[in-house]
């Protein structure tokens, strides 16, 4: 691995070409790579060997924590901290605690979904080497990129570049660190 090199990046002009290239790269044994596209492409994450992490279970826990927290807050205020006798009704009047419990559950789950997504994605990230590639600005418009990182054990500047060249890219460039 040469110092100052993040990897090699191939540019494609269609989602299908990127998908095919990602599959080729995976077959060749590359693992440290990422594909970039201007919109989500079904199955691309699996093609580069990514297995989804537990965002849904995190969201479930967030919702549970929110709902439980909301209910306990109401129980605490209405039964322990400030019990108010309203016409002899029980202090623990659970039916009237349902709306707030529900809202807190939704709030907890939604915040977890959004924060979890950003944190697991490592965002915000003010600097990333892929942006050193001039053409990468089109990744947010109409171009598709595959980047094989230099830290992949299979990575070899010359051989990887030759292999990438076989997958019908528009161009293959080196990405500075």
């Amino acid at each position: 691995m040469r110092p100052g090199v993040y990897g090699l990046m191939a540019e494609f002009d269609s989602a299908d070409a990127l998908m095919a290239a990602a599959k080729h790269a995976f077959e060749r044994g590359y693992r440290k790579m990422d594909a970039y596209s201007p919109f989500p492409i079904e199955g691309l994450d699996e093609a580069i060997g990514y297995h989804p992490t537990g965002l849904p279970s995190l969201v479930f826990l967030g919702g549970l924590a929110g709902g439980l927290g909301g209910y306990l807050l109401q129980y605490f205020t209405a039964v322990i901290a400030l019990p108010v006798n309203v016409g002899g009704r029980p202090f623990h009047s659970w039916p009237s605690f349902i709306p707030v419990t529900f809202e807190c559950a939704i709030l907890g789950a939604s915040l977890t979904a959004v924060l979890g997504m950003f944190i697991l994605n490592g965002l915000p990230m003010p600097y990333h080497p892929v942006f050193n590639v001039e053409r990468f600005q089109f990744a947010s418009r109409d171009r598709f990129f595959l980047c094989i990182e230099a830290k992949d054990p299979m990575y070899d500047r010359a051989r990887t570049a030759r292999e990438m060249g076989e997958w019908a890219p528009k161009d293959v460039v080196e990405v500075a660190e």
């Binding site: 989602a15 990602a22 990422d34 594909a35 970039y36 596209s37 201007p38 919109f39 989500p40 492409i41 691309l44 994450d45 093609a47 580069i48 990514y50 989804p52 992490t53 965002l55 919702g63 909301g70 807050l73 205020t77 209405a78 901290a81 400030l82 108010v84 309203v86 009047s93 009237s96 605690f97 709306p99 707030v100 529900f102 809202e103 807190c104 939704i106 709030l107 789950a109 939604s110 915040l111 979904a113 959004v114 979890g116 997504m117 950003f118 697991l120 994605n121 965002l123 990230m125 003010p126 600097y127 990333h128 892929v130 942006f131 600005q137 089109f138 990744a139 947010s140 418009r141 109409d142």
Partner: protein, 450 residues
């Protein structure tokens, strides 16, 4: 998404063309004359908001027409009206996403922004209606030296949690949807400051396949969470009324009928805004006649549910055998506020029946006028519900009349100004249509053709 492909996006579009077309509204076109005229009008109305708020804070709620027995008045009418309008955004974004309705794509961003802004307009009213808005934080549960806590058995407090949760989740939904588009703007912007600001807001989004996977997962989960939320918010707003024992409010039809009314008014407002928008920026390729037609159908359907609500109110007034309920209804239909009730039925039930006609649904001008008509109708509905139930309740000795003062109207006009101001700023600085979802839709269409 296989059906009516050509109808939901104009022919001949590519990833590049949709990106350039939508981002150019923000990045290239600058400030147009129409925008300036609109912003001037909005600023004048904003002046009305600031003046009305200043007068209210200096002199107190006595400047309004509210008193015994009508203690709610325009503040609550406007609150419910705005929050109802705020329901379409999340409904379009979340419910139509879950139902796999491809046509939502070109109107969801815009409708979400409308939701956020409408909720802010709505929030002003309960805030100032508490009388001492500088103490409104007492509504939140926090340990304090007074040793008190909010009363969680009160629908008013449910409202605080429902509306603040709704505002937060709507914001999250809108922002998450914006992130990939902010990255597009960052990459397309030529001005240094625009690049810095959009870049910071995009948080370094680079469209990685791993990121997209989590992104879509999170977006879908948010949609699933927002769907029951949107139903719950207006249900809880209706509890403000239904949980009380006032004749005309204490009914179980309120939650579904309020939710339908909210969707009705929300779609009306989306039409009111999107018809001029697409004309002004030449977006007919993206917001097609098919979109307008679909929205009109949703409006017609929810309008019929609302009409059913009105008829059930009348039916139960008779069927309950309760003299107060029966009096309330007769008073509503024939009493001093009968003009409002008659206008409500004409505007909100009879006129929208024109939507059955295909010719009406395919005319943008007719739909624009009808959508304004429904906005007015839904405002009248809340006026009728709030005022006619309160002004003559159980004891004839405590009957009274309610007339809004100029400061009531000034504040209402002012929130319309705030709404227009923020909408215009949104149009100027952020993409009004979700660019990446348009690209995704094109990709799906290509697959469908090949």
């Amino acid at each position: 998404m296989a059906r009516e492909k050509d109808a939901i996006i104009g022919p001949g579009h590519t990833y590049t063309s949709v990106t350039e077309k939508i981002s150019s509204i923000v990045l290239r076109r600058g400030v147009g004359r129409g925008w300036l005229v609109g912003f001037s009008i909005a600023s004048v109305l904003m002046g009305s908001l600031l003046t009305s708020l200043a007068v209210l804070l200096i002199f107190g709620t006595g400047v309004w027409g509210v008193n015994q027995p009508v203690g709610w008045g325009l503040a609550i009418v406007n609150f419910v009206w705005w929050i109802g309008i705020g329901h379409a955004g999340t409904l379009i974004s979340a419910v139509l996403l879950l139902l796999n309705q491809g046509w939502r794509t070109s109107i969801n961003r815009f409708a979400e922004a409308m939701t956020l802004i409408a909720v802010q307009c709505a929030g002003i009213f309960p805030l100032v209606h508490v009388g001492r808005p500088w103490l409104a934080y007492w509504l939140f549960p926090y340990p304090n030296t007074m040793g008190t806590w909010p009363q969680f058995r009160s629908p008013l407090l449910w409202d605080v949690f429902a509306v603040s949760t709704y505002a937060t989740v709507s914001f999250l939904f809108w922002y998450v949807g914006l992130v990939p588009d902010l990255a597009t703007l960052r990459d397309r912007a030529q001005h240094r400051w625009a690049r810095v600001v959009y870049g910071a807001l995009a948080m370094g989004w680079r469209g990685s396949a791993r990121h997209w996977q989590r992104y879509q997962r999170a977006y879908l989960l948010l949609a699933g969470l927002a769907t029951p939320l949107v139903i719950s918010v207006h249900t809880i707003v209706s509890f403000d009324f239904a949980v009380s024992v006032i004749p005309g409010w204490h009914t179980t039809i309120f939650p579904p009928y309020f939710v339908a009314g909210a969707i009705y008014s929300g779609f009306a407002m989306v039409l009111t805004l999107s018809i001029p928008l697409r004309a002004a920026y030449g977006l007919e390729d993206f917001i097609t006649d098919k979109h307008l037609d679909n929205m009109a159908k949703v409006m017609l359907a929810t309008g019929l549910v609302v009409a059913y609500g009105y008829s059930m109110e009348a039916f139960y007034a008779w069927y309950s055998g309760n003299i107060y309920e029966r009096f309330m209804f007769l008073n509503r239909a024939t009493g001093p506020y009968a003009w409002a009730y008659v206008a409500l039925i004409v505007v909100n039930v009879l006129i929208p029946q024109a939507l059955w006609s295909k010719r009406v649904r395919s005319s943008a001008i007719a739909l624009f006028l009808l959508s304004i008509n429904v906005n007015i109708g839904m405002w009248l509905e809340r006026f009728v519900i709030v005022v006619t139930s309160l002004h003559r309740d159980f004891l004839p000795s405590s009957w009274g009349m309610y007339t809004p003062t100029r400061w009531d109207w000034g504040l209402f006009a002012g929130t319309i100004g705030l709404f227009l101001t923020l909408i215009l700023l949104f149009i100027r600085f952020l993409p009004v249509i979700s660019i990446f979802e348009m690209r995704e839709m094109l990709a799906h269409e290509k697959k469908g053709h090949s």
